[in-house]
């Protein structure tokens, strides 16, 4: 009984290390090829993965900014700190909410799409066809997606910063009775450009995580439609977990 239990632990540890090794090899292979991307493919992926994600990111962040203002403005007004609401919203958006929520939305939309596409290519032997035609699947499939995600996520975050703050502004002025001048002045006083830059740096890392995890899960998808489905779910879950973990360490690094 104990031996079987230990064997089980051993097997899962070996599988875990194997997975880590494979991920690191894929990251290394991608890194080596990052300097010579196919620009046409990168631009297509930027449009497909980045531009097409804009509506859902804007919708998510708009309502997040609005609901956050509803929650904090009531409390801040109670303690006479209504002049801080704009600054708090802008800093929260720039440092955390915009990059993290954009990352989570992108993990759900972009990460899932990458895994599903590459996974179905794998199970229908299209990846093997690429290799037989002397095309490196990492150069052809992974590199453009990684670059596109790393370049487009910061762009999405800039939009998210603006839209989230506008959402907060609308609720603060129309619902909570905070003056327009007070809200804007508060942003000018409290927020600094580094709040936004830190968020953008985070989003580059999140973009890399989403694309790498998406591609890895797709390239290693088990056979069959069920396998692709499992890989897609796994990709979204892993990306979101990694985004939250890395967000903590990046926040420590950037804002200490």
């Amino acid at each position: 009984m104990l031996v079987r239990y230990l064997e089980k632990i051993g097997h899962s540890m070996i599988a875990g290390f194997e997975n880590c090794g494979r991920v690191m090899m894929l990251v290394w292979d991608t890194y080596k090829l990052l300097s010579k991307p196919n620009i046409k493919h990168v631009l297509y992926q930027m449009s497909h993965l980045g531009v097409d994600s804009l509506p859902i990111v804007m919708l998510t962040i708009l309502f997040t900014g609005m609901v956050m203002t509803v929650q904090i403005s009531h409390e801040f007004i109670k303690y006479g700190a209504q002049s801080s609401v704009g600054g708090v919203i802008a800093i929260a958006m720039g440092r955390e909410l915009a990059p993290v929520l954009t990352g989570v939305v992108a993990a759900g939309r972009v990460g899932a799409a990458i895994t599903a596409e590459i996974g179905s290519m794998k199970v229908t032997e299209q990846i093997d066809a690429l290799r037989v035609m002397a095309i490196n699947p990492v150069a052809y499939l992974v590199v453009p997606r990684v670059l596109a995600c790393m370049l487009m996520l910061p762009v999405l975050v800039i939009f998210a910063d603006v839209i989230g703050t506008i959402g907060g502004y609308l609720v603060a002025t129309l619902h909570s009775g905070i003056g327009s001048f007070t809200f804007i002045q508060s942003i000018k006083v409290f927020a600094v450009i580094n709040d936004v830059i830190g968020g953008l740096i985070k989003s580059v890392a999140f973009g890399g995580i989403i694309a790498m995890v998406g591609c890895y899960k797709g390239l290693n998808a088990p056979d069959g439609a069920e396998g692709v489905g499992k890989a897609t779910t796994g990709s979204v879950v892993s990306s979101i977990i990694l985004i939250f973990i890395s967000n903590y360490f990046l926040s420590l690094l950037l804002y200490r």
């Binding site: 229908t124 299209q126 093997d128 066809a129 095309i135």
Partner: protein, 255 residues
């Protein structure tokens, strides 16, 4: 020439291929037959370097390929084309883009030149004018033919066919068989065809190798094959039950 020397292949603790020795001459059509799961497709994947054998050597025109890196293998693969069992067409691209894919990646040809080659190859497989069709609009047989056009677009020296007639009606199977022989006649390619359709094998083969339980149990010309005294071969040719064969297969499964 393709030469496989003492090839053994294990996968997840199971021996898929055992001590395979096979030479395929330049320009020859070698048909590999055998029951499902006997290791035929694995053999094809070893030749093209998609899998590495557990032991043994594979030579392509004298160059040993099992120890090559992926980049070095790509130089060998440029001389090969492969028709996959389920065609493996890039489903996000049109038929024309599928056929042009290798040319765009590996040559400096202009789009006009590529369009001419694509048109010529599609005409060869009887799909002239289908450049703008998407793969999901094609029948199984048409997909196989596009897959062949894609495989021969870069004028390879070796073409590997993985079950090219599987799932096709007899008329379409005959068409694919004729395409395989005409491709060899026109382009002089060496062909390795994996199938379990005996009629196809007899129609196209210069020589036939039969794999059973991971081993080559018979190798010879079509006539030699038909005259084989091996009961397993005879059963495979005629599709009849042989009590000895069933018992042997059962015994192998139990092992």
């Amino acid at each position: 020439m393709i030469k496989l020397s003492n090839i053994n292949m294990n996968y997840k603790g199971k021996q898929i291929l055992e001590d395979i020795n096979l030479e395929i001459k330049t320009g020859e059509i070698m048909v590999i037959i055998g029951p499902s799961g006997s290791g035929k497709s694995t053999l094809l994947r070893l030749i093209v370097g998609l899998l590495k054998p557990t032991s043994g050597e594979i030579y392509i025109d004298g160059q040993e390929i099992t120890q090559l890196s992926e980049t070095e293998l790509n130089q060998i693969r440029l001389r090969m084309g492969m028709v996959f069992q389920y065609s493996a067409l890039f489903d996000s691209m049109t038929v024309g883009d599928n056929v042009a894919f290798g040319l765009r990646q590996h040559t400096k040809m202009t789009e006009d030149e590529i369009a001419k080659v694509v048109s010529r190859k599609l005409r060869m497989v009887g799909l002239f004018g289908k450049e703008d069709t998407m793969p999901n609009e094609l029948s199984g047989g048409m997909k196989k033919r596009v897959s062949l056009a894609r495989a021969i677009a870069v004028n390879p020296e070796i073409v590997l066919y993985d079950e090219p007639t599987a799932g096709l009606d007899p008329i379409m199977s005959g068409k694919i068989d004729r395409l395989i022989t005409s491709t060899r006649r026109i382009m002089g390619v060496t062909s390795v065809v994996v199938t379990h359709h005996m009629s196809s094998a007899f129609n196209i083969a210069d020589r036939i190798a039969m794999i059973y339980g991971g081993k080559i149990i018979e190798l010879g010309t079509v006539e030699e094959f038909k005259q084989s005294k091996n009961p397993i071969v005879q059963q495979f040719i005629h599709g009849e039950k042989t009590p000895g064969l069933l018992a042997r297969r059962r015994g192998k499964t139990e092992c």
